[in-house]
């Protein structure tokens, strides 16, 4: 592990930001707390996707499957079998990790060209939603309703509202920290080398299959855990929300707009775009339906045109210019 990781852990900026975020529920109305909680869900999801999509350059469209397992399956385990949701969280994460490994292995074993990973992950996501909708155990197409959140921590309840916000804040912070940790460890170097040039990576000793699987497993497990927390917050496990391709597309979009492969990029993208989308919908959704999508789309397209590598690199360039030319870029 590089020293930069421990510096991050000891950084007052990090802890300061966390503390400020943590007092938000006392300052903001419950509407905005809800929006921030959603934003944190997507910070966590986009950051976990970043490990495989950003760092390793493997555009996975299978993440709705992992989110779906984490949410629908752990909800079903609780409702149908009475299994504690903490245990459900672990079981779902393990299943997601195994599926992630299988997907990465299949992609490696049957290299079908440039788009093969995208297509294979998409196929798995599709299979996932077919299984969910057809299998009554998982609630079928009508979904599952969790018992009311009474704040019983041992039953994976956080009391809704503020409690859910803090839970999501912790989870988002963990996902971002995992990103920082990976980028400062050998795994981060291996993944970036694989993304940039697989053949050259192999020629300097990188075991491509092993690290592609590692990235996918970590990413899938994190996404699954976030899925479990998310469904607890929503209370209603809606397959059309949780295991739909839309959620994956959103994650990919946030990560791309924020800065692919960077520790804080996906978090930045989610923190800006989720509130923007929600507020636009709240303000315009009833008066001019559709307009909020249009404005949202324009914002996203402009960002990508202005700074194809995302907002984080743009902000860094602006910051460097403001600080003067002597400041070198960060890795």
């Amino acid at each position: 592990m590089r020293d930069e990781f421990y510096k991050t852990l000891a950084s007052p900026i990090w802890w300061g930001a966390l503390v400020i975020a943590a007092i938000m529920p006392f300052v903001l109305s419950s509407y905005y707390v809800h929006i921030l909680t959603l934003a944190l869900v997507y910070v966590a999801l986009a950051s976990s996707w970043n490990i495989v999509g950003g760092m390793a350059g493997q555009i996975s469209l299978a993440h709705s499957l992992f989110i779906g397992i984490g949410s629908m399956f752990s909800a079903a385990l609780l409702l149908k079998l009475g299994i504690n949701m903490w245990l459900g969280l672990v079981i779902s994460a393990v299943i997601s990790g195994i599926l992630g490994a299988v997907i990465a292995w299949i992609d490696f074993r049957f290299q079908l060209g440039h788009l093969s990973f995208v297509l294979i992950t998409l196929a798995f996501a599709e299979m996932g939603s077919i299984v969910v909708e057809g299998w009554d155990f998982l609630g079928g197409a009508s979904g599952l309703l969790l018992p009311k959140d009474t704040g019983n921590f041992l039953a994976f309840q956080f009391g809704g509202g503020h409690g859910a916000f803090w839970m999501m804040l912790a989870l988002a912070a963990i996902c971002v920290l995992v990103n920082v940790a990976i980028l400062n460890s050998p795994l981060g170097y291996y993944l970036r080398t694989i993304r940039d040039n697989e053949k050259a990576a192999q020629a300097i000793g990188v075991n491509i299959l092993r690290y592609k699987i590692t990235a996918m497993v970590i990413s899938a497990m994190l996404a699954s855990v976030v899925g479990t927390a998310y469904v607890r917050y929503l209370t209603f496990a809606d397959p059309y929300l949780l295991i739909s391709p839309v959620i994956t597309i959103e994650i990919v979009l946030f990560a791309t707009v924020g800065g692919l492969g960077r520790a804080y990029g996906p978090a930045l993208g989610a923190l800006l775009l989720v509130p923007l989308g929600e507020i636009l919908r709240g303000k315009l959704g009833s008066t001019l339906p559709g307009l909020h999508y249009f404005i949202y789309g324009i914002v996203v397209i402009s960002v990508i045109l202005v700074t194809p590598r995302g907002l984080l690199p743009l902000f860094e360039r602006l910051w460097a210019r403001w600080r003067g030319p002597a400041v070198a870029g960060k890795p």
């Binding site: 590089r2 460890s185 170097y189 291996y190 080398t193 940039d196 053949k199």
Partner: protein, 239 residues
Amino acid sequence: MAFLEVSNITRRFGGLVALNAVSFDVEKGEILGIIGPNGAGKTTLFGVISGFIPPSAGDVVYDGESIIGVSPDRLVRRGLMRSFQIVQSFADMTALDVVTTAALTRRPMREAIDYAAHALLRVGLGGKEHKTPATLSLQDKKLLELAKCIATDPRCILLDEVMAGLTMAETAAPIAIIEELNKQGVTIVMVEHVMPVIMRLAQRMVVINFGEKIAQGTPDEILKDQRVVDAYFGDHLDA
């Protein structure tokens, strides 16, 4: 038993026989030069030895064991390293990042970074650690290939035209590095078109033409070999 034994390697690409039953030995600690006209099969041969290209027939024994079917990254960890004739690019990594990844084959994170910085210094790329490989000059890209090799602590390296495109003055740095590595006991197999360089560095040479080995011997013997003169040097030796 030699350190590296190439026996009867054949490789076909469809109807084209890129390598036809090529055999030779490399002794531990020597510098073996491989020459041959463009398209002779030299890069394909390196691809086979380094595990990137499966041969159609034949065997390669490295350090006492057959390495056919062993993946390139495992060979690197066993000390068999190659450079690429076409310099490899990395879109989003600095020179230091790339060489650090190479150094991670044998070292933990922090040591690897120091070792990589040292390898870059050693090949003369000090001060260019934070450039991306794409922004380096051709000479520096070739030096970066060498730094990657050094950083993995190889026992045997296959160098594919690391001097091509360099001026005579620019070849001084890679030549010094290769000599130094060899003095430290690293076995070197090098493909090179720059004749004065390979004549000076190689202790033995192998000549390949149209996928077949047509001669082997010391540089002096090779220069006198009529088949080589006919097949390869042709007119410009007469001139």
